[in-house]
Symmetry: C2
Subunit: 136 residues, 2 copies
DNA sequence: CTTGACCCTGTAGTCGACTACAGGGTCTAG
DNA sequence: CTAGACCCTGTAGTCGACTACAGGGTCAAG
């Protein structure tokens, strides 16, 4: 388990080499050192950091937000309150998106319900009618 | 209410001139004719079509899907079934996104609940702990 | 000592829905 | 007749998260 080259790390983390270099550009990861030829060399612990990134992504955090979380995570003096605040902002954001989607779903379901489907032409389609602004 | 130039139409529809030209590139709208100087001239009824586009967007349809809806809408021989199918596919899509967001929200809420906030440092933050893969 | 797998940098493309010019031509009010 | 508001085409930039080269250099196996 000595330093990993970027290709080995990519395989371990199930990410592409390009993605790793992209994360480096964003400041999310960095190689521990470079070889004489300029090759990136990573310590094996970086795999954990990449898992952190993936988990946070799955929870809806952007890479920019993940950079903040990683910075807080690396600072033992930082307050957990900041992490909590980021988390609660993300929850609020997600809840807003859910509400928007639910409004759409209800509107669409209401329209689909009254559409006779294959028994009618588009002329009598209430969905198109609504989009055209018929009634209200 | 004679032919509208693109600037007048933009004002009526509360869209930018650039957006209108963009919609034209996508095939969503077209000027009825061109003036001698090459100016786009729209019949006033185009405003309805733009409202259709905006309503469909608010319901979650992409501009590509809206192009399909408009094509169906303009073809009186087309079946309302196709419109209904597009609508139901969109409902399914939205429901999937809601489910994904709800899973995120619940995971985040569960983490936030156990975070002591400002009373602890990031070392003891269960949110960062979870992202780092502690437990499970 | 060569072949092929790896690595480097830097740039550009993808998706969707715009937005912003640059470098022209046209139209209208005073 | 001219200033300024309008219009044209064509190209490029924005956001986020990648993805895909091109044109090099490096390394290990046979």
């Amino acid at each position: 388990m000595h330093p990993l080259t970027i290709g080995k790390l990519a395989k371990q983390a199930d990410l592409s080499v390009e993605t790793l270099r992209y994360y480096e550009r964003l400041g999310l990861i960095a190689p521990q050192q470079r070889s004489e030829a300029g090759y990136r060399l990573y310590e094996p612990g970086i795999v954990r950091r990449l898992r952190f990134i993936r988990r946070a992504q799955a929870l809806g955090f952007s890479l920019g937000e993940i950079a903040e979380l990683l910075a807080l995570s690396g600072d033992p003096a930082a307050s957990a309150g900041e992490v909590k605040a980021l988390t609660q902002a993300k929850i609020a954001d997600i809840e807003q998106r859910i509400r928007d989607l639910e409004r759409m779903r209800e509107a669409l379901a209401g329209l689909a319900e009254h559409c006779p489907g294959h028994r009618a032409t588009t002329v009598d389609c209430p969905i198109l009618g609504a989009l055209n602004g018929e009634d209200q």
